[in-house]
């Protein structure tokens, strides 16, 4: 049975207008006066399926099941590329670096250096 057919009892059998449920004994049609007996409506349901997942998504709560592919925050350590360059503070011979294009596209990219030893950070514009 189609979705709309399951809700046929809401409508007048004569003219199709939405019925008014204003009496315990019958539902009446405001246009043509047709009355559908309460006995005919008994047992008819409009049924909705709502999962707990839907509710949690609606309320923006965390999902129940955390997928295995999701890495925990503490396990993620950013491994940066390294270069043989001397730290200007503690003279450590190796630095981590990454690059970003901060200035206009016709300029070179900015290189950010970080010393794994003394946590010193600096950058260079080539």
């Amino acid at each position: 049975m189609a979705f709309w057919q399951a809700r046929d009892f809401l409508f007048c059998g004569v003219c199709g207008t939405l019925l008014k449920f204003d009496s315990v004994r019958s539902a009446s049609c405001p246009l043509c006066g047709f009355k559908r007996k309460a006995k005919d409506i008994e047992g008819k349901e409009t049924r909705y399926t709502v999962t707990a997942e839907d509710i949690r998504r609606e309320l923006k709560l965390d999902p129940y099941v955390i997928l295995e592919t999701t890495l925990k925050e503490e396990d993620v350590i950013v491994e940066r590329a390294t270069v043989n360059k001397e730290c200007e503070k503690c003279k450590n011979p190796e630095l981590q670096y990454y690059t970003k294009q901060l200035r206009s596209a016709d300029e070179g990219q900015t290189v950010f250096y970080k010393c794994a030893n003394c946590r010193h950070e600096f950058n260079e514009n080539q």
């Binding site: 189609a2 979705f3 709309w4 409508f11 199709g16 207008t17």
Partner: protein
């Protein structure tokens, strides 16, 4: 003689590629001359004038327009040429007259012709005396041999109408925008918007807003205000239907069977929402179509001009006809479209379909010069009717002996303000400002025209190939409108855009990009009704179920709806849709299939939360088009160049011609192929040699600098009357050039000099941006140029009287 003829013929072919660049401008004005003007006049509602103390009703309707070629003043039928207008600082315009029918009560309709002044005539259009002229004739009349027209001459100045970006017509677009919340309490930021364009190119934009309680409001602008109607009232007012039928139509696209699988666009909540919509109408005690019409008419009678004395039902019918889905003539079609828009709106709310991007070219089209003139002229004529009515009523109130039956008296009042119509059009083209009360459903009022600068040929060409997003975006802080999106591939050049304030807003069409027009490839006017009938017949033959007899219809993922220019004509089973699409594409390639070659087959496939699926077919003008090679047609051995649009391109598999498969997935093999790798660049960007060896911003700067250089501004320099002209004395043809340079005859207007550059690498010899020139080269004329400047002269008259 034969040699001369063949030389002329070859010369004409030489300019064919150049002429194609100007075609969108000229075609739109040609259609305005051919049919657009008459269609517009017929769409203007007649005006009825009644005055107190008189039983007479005067009815004025506009029937046929006449636009004449330009003529010289005082000379009998002597043609006026553009060069004469430039030199005399006058306007290249033609006389404009309209036949009107004036009817008293039920008497005979008397035809009277009114003169509305002059309308500017676009150069090289059908009314221009230079239309079809060859190079010799052009030179004889003081023009360039490469004169292609496409602009107007107003007050001696060359003005061209700028091509603007508009929302794609007749397509319901789902949007999420923060400003929708301000409509009132209970409104959300979600809406479905459709810009409905009727035959005369005027448009009404319909917005369907989602409310927090699950209902929707239909909004449109009338008389400078936005009116918001409950969607249930509109549904019941359109056709004689019942609540049950509305409920069934809305909810039949949902089925518990599919849960949340691929292609599902509806959820179980649609039943509740449909009930809420019907509850709203019932609470207003509106049960039948007649009651809904009376309700609408009661509210709109004071707003609708000219309907003050009509009954409510007539007013409501006029509102539905003139403002609700004006691109459809049938109320059943309007009902079906409104149901579809509601379903799409709920899909966006439930996130089972993604909203559309208003900034993507996929959902955009252009406003062409002929369309702008048509729309504005209609507004001015309606204003003329309004003013004339007011004048006549005032006179009749003042002068008791005034007789509406006296046609001479009536004509006197009608002629009083008619000349201002032509003046308003000329002023719009000269100044670029659209003075209108209603705004004409356009995104801006200023900046509609620009001066056709001839600093050099690059700049001149770029004016005709540029597309502007709208001046209101230049002041906004957001940068999303300026982004270069992948939907623009092949249609707008990724390189050619200014690097200042208009960056990303002023774009240029690629060299192969075209605009669909009202003319087919043979030059005849398209019959869109016949095309639609032919399309429906082909679709039914391929397995489409037509919409007409049934109320209960399934929706995605079982079937997909088929839209033809915004009218839902049927549905096709999902399993067969790709076969149907390929069939339509094959028919596009066949010359005499009845399917136009520029048909846009926008097939949006089923997806999980992607765009709302369906088959959207577009045949209307003002769409972007570009040619690609169809591999399907290639394998058949027949013609294989297919014109595609930006809407359908987003869902197609097109491979590059000069590389590998680019990591293409085997599940989605390429069905089309680019014709040439430089087809994605504009004309000016195509002229940069070795652009693939340059950093991207350098190519962008080159486009701007090519348009700034002093070049050879024109071979007809001795006839020009520009206020300022720049002229390079000894230009040279470049040693290194692209094939596009020859294709577009750039050598007729060279813009530079070949120079040998010595690089001095020792620090002591350089000074920042300075350059050391060879003295003897400069003495021999290198880089020599002239600036011609014209000043006004005033010769006072000293005469003995």
């Amino acid at each position: 003689m034969a040699a001369g003829k063949s030389s002329s013929a070859s010369k004409e072919d030489q300019y064919a590629a150049l002429r194609e660049l100007y075609r969108p401008h000229i075609d739109s004005f040609d259609y305005f001359i051919d049919e657009g003007l008459d269609k517009m006049l017929q769409s203007i509602r007649p005006v009825e004038i009644t005055v107190p103390n008189s039983p007479t009703t005067l009815r004025i309707s506009l029937e046929k327009g006449h636009l004449f070629p330009p003529k010289r003043d005082g000379r009998l039928d002597a043609p006026l040429y553009p060069q004469q207008c430039r030199q005399a600082r006058t306007t290249y315009h033609g006389e404009f007259k309209v036949d009107t029918f004036i009817q008293c009560n039920d008497g005979p309709a008397v035809r009277q012709t009114f003169n509305f002044g002059y309308l500017p005539i676009m150069l090289m259009s059908k009314l221009c005396h230079l239309r079809g002229a060859d190079s010799e004739k052009l030179i004889f009349h003081g023009e360039e041999a490469t004169e292609m027209g496409g602009y107007f001459i107003c007050g001696g100045m060359e003005r061209l109408v700028r091509i603007l970006i508009l929302q794609k017509r007749n397509y319901p677009m789902g949007l999420i925008r923060g400003s929708f919340v301000n409509r009132g309490a209970g409104y959300t930021d979600k809406a479905v918007i459709i810009r409905c364009v009727q035959d005369d190119q005027s448009s009404v934009t319909i917005k369907l807003y989602y409310l927090l309680n699950g209902s929707a409001r239909l909004g449109f602008w009338l008389g400078g205000r936005e009116f918001l109607l409950p969607v249930g009232i509109v549904l019941k007012a359109l056709i004689d239907t019942s609540d049950r039928e509305i409920f069934t139509s809305l909810t039949c696209c949902y089925s518990d069977h599919y849960e949340r699988g691929k292609g599902v666009v509806s959820t179980q909540l649609i039943g509740e929402r449909a009930q809420i919509i019907l509850d709203e109408v019932r609470d207003l005690s509106l049960f039948t179509r007649t009651e809904c019409l009376l309700h609408l008419g009661k509210y709109f009678r004071s707003v609708m001009e000219g309907f003050e004395k009509d009954d409510f039902e007539t007013v409501a019918e006029a509102v539905l006809k003139d403002y609700i889905f004006v691109h459809l003539q049938n109320n059943h079609d309007k009902f079906n479209l409104l149901i579809f828009m509601l379903q799409k709106l709920y899909a966006i709310v439930d996130q089972t379909a993604s909203p559309d991007k208003a900034d993507a070219l996929q959902y955009q089209e252009v406003l062409l010069p002929g369309h702008l003139i048509t729309v504005f002229l209609k507004d001015r004529l309606q204003d003329w009717l309004r003013k004339s009515k007011r004048l006549i009523v005032e006179e009749a109130t003042k002068n008791k002996s005034f007789d509406l039956n006296d046609s001479q008296e009536v004509r006197k009042f009608l002629s009083k303000t008619s000349a201002y119509v032509g003046k308003a059009i000329q002023s719009m083209i000269k100044v670029g400002k659209v003075n209108s009360q209603s705004g004409l459903d356009l995104p801006q009022r200023d900046g509609m025209t620009i001066h056709a600068e001839r600093l050099n040929f690059h700049r001149y060409i770029s004016h005709f190939r540029s597309v502007h997003r709208g001046s209101s975006f230049a002041k906004m802080r957001t940068t999303s409108v300026r982004k270069l999106l992948p939907e623009s591939w092949g249609f707008l050049c990724p390189v050619h855009t200014p690097d200042g304030e208009p960056c990303g807003l002023l774009n240029h069409m690629t060299s192969t990009c075209r605009i669909s027009s009202f003319y087919n490839s043979e030059g005849a006017t398209k019959d869109f009704q016949k095309i639609k009938m032919s399309l429906i017949a082909r679709l039914v033959g391929a397995g489409m179920a037509q919409l007409l007899p049934r109320i209960e219809r399934t929706g995605p993922p079982e079937v997909l709806h088929v839209h033809v220019d915004g009218c839902i004509v049927g549905s096709i089973a999902s399993a067969k849709i790709e076969e149907v699409v390929n069939h339509l594409r094959s028919l596009k390639l066949l010359p005499h299939s009845g399917i136009p070659e520029d048909l846009e087959v926008g097939y949006v496939p089923l997806s999980h939360g992607g765009a709302y699926p369906g088959l959207y077919l577009f045949t209307n003008p003002a769409r972007f088009l570009r040619p690609v090679r169809s591999l399907l047609g290639l394998s058949n051995g027949g013609p294989n160049i297919e014109l595609i649009g930006p809407f359908e391109q987003a869902f197609m598999e097109i491979r590059c011609p000069d590389g590998g498969d680019g990591g293409r997935n085997k599940l989605f093999p390429a069905t089309h192929e680019e014709i040439h790798p430089t087809a994605i660049l504009s004309v000016v960007a195509n002229l940069t040699p070795w652009s693939d060896h340059n950093q991207s911003p350098r190519n962008m700067y080159q486009c701007q600098m090519a348009k700034q250089t002093m070049g050879f501004c024109g071979q007809a320099l001795k006839f020009r009357t520009d206020v300022k002209a720049f002229h390079l004395q000894t230009p040279q043809t470049p040693i290194v050039r692209t094939a596009t340079y020859s294709k577009y005859c750039m050598d007729e207007f060279p813009s530079g000099t070949n120079a040998i550059v010595a690089v001095l690498s020792y620090t002591g010899y350089d000074m920042e941006d300075a350059m050391i020139l060879n003295k003897s080269a400069v003495d021999r004329g290198m880089f020599r140029g002239h600036i011609f400047q014209v000043s006004k002269c005033f010769f006072p008259f000293f005469g003995d009287s």
